[in-house]
Symmetry: C2
Subunit: 431 residues, 2 copies
């Protein structure tokens, strides 16, 4: 007998909510297989049911959030802000629902109230999406590092300011111009205060510090400096000394206690955080046993944030279905494992040829005959600088080809009179 469906109530239908609704619909089959029961979206609470929403079934919309949360197994909150989010989540918990929220402001201001209510009711609170969007950072700190002692967390957790500082560094813009550009591209809000003054990052720092150090961190104890004092001149000087300016959220354990702060800082270009560009986020964690860890990915956006929300929904749902067990492995998918010869890869083929006109054409023809297309050819000196007279060195980079096609091609190339040696055949990844 299949398990009964779990009722999911969605609060809010903005950029993230729309994507949560879409993914619940489009991935229904996969999600049911992973949870062990279907997930049924029973309704979406909004303020105005008549506002147009792309791809959302209008029959799901309701303004009666109270009734919705009282008849749900899992309540997903993506409204943001303190109220009515807090009241609705507490009502959901009291009614026995587990809750998933992306609401950093609420968690930073009043998380312990939610946690205590959930603890008393024996339900879950998950909130991966509240810090650093799609990047799994809450779960690793809460669970993977639960047997370790976190010493320090340093994160780039606000994509807007990271984009702005990036534009100041690479485009030479001043702060105001960079903020305007971010607004035009949709990376910054019309009122950018929450981002540029560091309020958003401070909320995330408070949440991370409370998870990492198992303490309550009142938001007013987070030292907060935004990027408004950073000048184009600062950024240029930083570059001249091998640094970049980043807005960092820092939670640090010292002998005396815990320091939680958000401020701009110079980061050496060789540090992993220095390379985090544009709207990306990254969080660096130092733990006593694990050592240095870094987590990197998209820190915002409707679809990435919805991915984190759905991961939490699956966890909360599994807890309800499995009762006291972690994730269960199953191989439900019907996907064959392909033979190696079918893998499509780009290749870099390095050959020595006789240095005379027409040889490249011959080689190119051999590749074309086997359906392997050339992306680039470089003719070059030997790496060591030593050249042998009459010998040319070619590096041919191919477009994607199968292993099988490439093997046949290399064989044919090797047999050409003008080819002296095939020096190496290496795959190319990551470009």
């Amino acid at each position: 007998m299949p398990a009964p469906a779990l009722r999911i109530a969605l609060l809010g239908c903005g950029v993230v909510g729309t994507q949560v609704a879409r993914l619940l619909r489009e991935q229904a089959e996969d999600l049911a297989a992973r949870v062990g029961a279907p997930l049924e979206l029973t309704g979406i609470a909004v303020r105005d049911v008549t506002a147009p929403r792309d791809g959302v079934d209008p029959a799901l919309l309701t303004t009666d959030a109270d009734s919705l949360v009282e008849q749900a197994d899992i309540v997903v909150e993506v409204i943001g802000g303190l109220e009515p989010a807090r009241t609705l989540l507490l009502r959901a918990i009291a009614a026995g629902a587990s809750v998933v929220t992306a609401n950093k402001a609420l968690l930073a201001a009043d998380g312990p109230t939610l946690y205590a209510a959930a603890d008393a009711a024996g339900v879950d609170v998950y909130f991966e999406a509240a810090v650093a969007g799609a990047i799994p950072i809450v779960r690793p700190v809460r669970e993977s590092l639960a047997g370790d002692r976190v010493q320090r967390i340093v994160g780039i957790v606000n994509g807007t300011t990271n984009y702005v500082l990036d534009q100041m560094a690479t485009g030479g813009l001043d702060l105001a111009a960079a903020v305007r550009q971010a607004q035009e591209l949709g990376y910054a809000e019309a009122d950018p205060t929450a981002d540029v003054e560091g309020f958003d990052a401070a909320a995330k720092a408070a949440i991370l510090a409370s998870l990492a150090f198992h303490i309550r961190v009142p938001l007013e104890d987070v030292h907060r400096e935004g990027i408004t004092a950073v000048t184009a001149d600062d950024v240029a000087w930083a570059a001249s000394t091998g640094h970049v300016v980043k807005l960092l959220a820092i939670a640090e354990r010292t002998d005396d206690g815990v320091s939680v702060r958000v401020h701009p800082a110079l980061v050496p270009v060789e540090h992993p955080l220095a390379g985090v560009r544009g709207a990306f986020n990254a969080v660096f964690v130092q733990a006593e046993s694990a050592g240095e860890l870094m987590f990197y990915g998209r820190g915002a956006g409707g679809t990435p944030t919805a991915s984190a929300v759905l991961g939490d929904v699956v966890s909360a749902a599994r807890n309800r279905v499995l009762g006291g067990r972690g994730p269960v492995e199953s191989s439900y998918a019907d996907l064959p494992v392909l033979p190696a010869s079918a893998a499509l890869t780009r290749y870099s083929v390095r050959i020595d040829v006789v240095d005379r006109p027409g040889v490249l054409a011959q080689v190119a023809a051999a590749l074309a005959d086997h359906g392997v297309s050339i992306e680039a050819v470089r003719q070059s000196q030997a790496a060591g600088g030593a050249t042998t007279s009459g010998v040319a060195h070619l590096i041919i980079t191919t477009h994607s080809a199968t292993d099988a096609a490439l093997a046949a091609t290399v064989q044919a190339v090797a047999e050409l009179d003008a080819v002296l040696a095939v020096r190496s055949v290496l795959r190319v990844e990551g470009s």
Copy 2:
């Protein structure tokens, strides 16, 4: 009434096992607070109880692994290899214990047997430490991305080969010399076959592919090429075209199925994986909704691996104590949140001074008076190239100082006659 202790049985007491035993002892109080019940190490199964083991209570050692696993709530297996690990874990599961294992070889060869047994018995199998050591990658793929569709995983999951390739690139060594160096430093085994031929990476690729795509991946379906064919010449040529050679584990979903493979590949230097040096590991994940994610950290070593094992122990223990709920937040720690003025940071102070002898000494004296010590002073042209005659630009980098000391120092410096302007005061992090 406090919850009864959970009985932990440890199988194996090598590099990882010793650290697991130590951490269970040293962090007993923290772990009990996080789980909600004490964790009691009831015994450590070894082949020879007389072998000396640093810091391990000899009274815990036993050769009777069978009895040990049958009287445990959680069995931790760090023996490695197929047998007797498989038989002992199946026996533990049959007796109702949850299991935590770091055994990649066993999971790649016969994971589904373990998973099915655990499913039937209603217990957990956790194995974060089996892939990429301390890096949380199993939990993110199994849980955080459970609401997403993974498209591709590309990882550097073998620290030995990464170190060897790194030495070939930076030290100009050939493969044999680099392997010998890795052996001398303890990064490679006396018989390096499992690493350099890609067997270790292939097992991890199979595990990651099975988690990401919800399929069974027989080890023999993983295409495997080690690094033995990579020459010093290849590495030098790669560098000359802006690439590094890395041994990659790849699991990729295509229209036709799933490709799982391990082989060396050229990676562009600007790709995040290119910067992963030495014994570090990193795993790049691309998912439909989350986009690009990267996880970075220590891929091996007793203590980092023990951190991952203990995280799993806490998860399995919480499942037993909480029954059907995820992690519970509590702020049990007695750590004050420090005021901002107490935070210790390095600073970069940029000032314009009158360009005459003795000024630097005056500035240095002002810092010394306030107990702020100077790490470096640079005198430089203005960033834009424009210079004002009679004005010198100083960048002073301090050693760690408190906010409060720094503020007082800057005030004193600004008041010096020879100081024309304090241009900026920025913190320095990450060095």
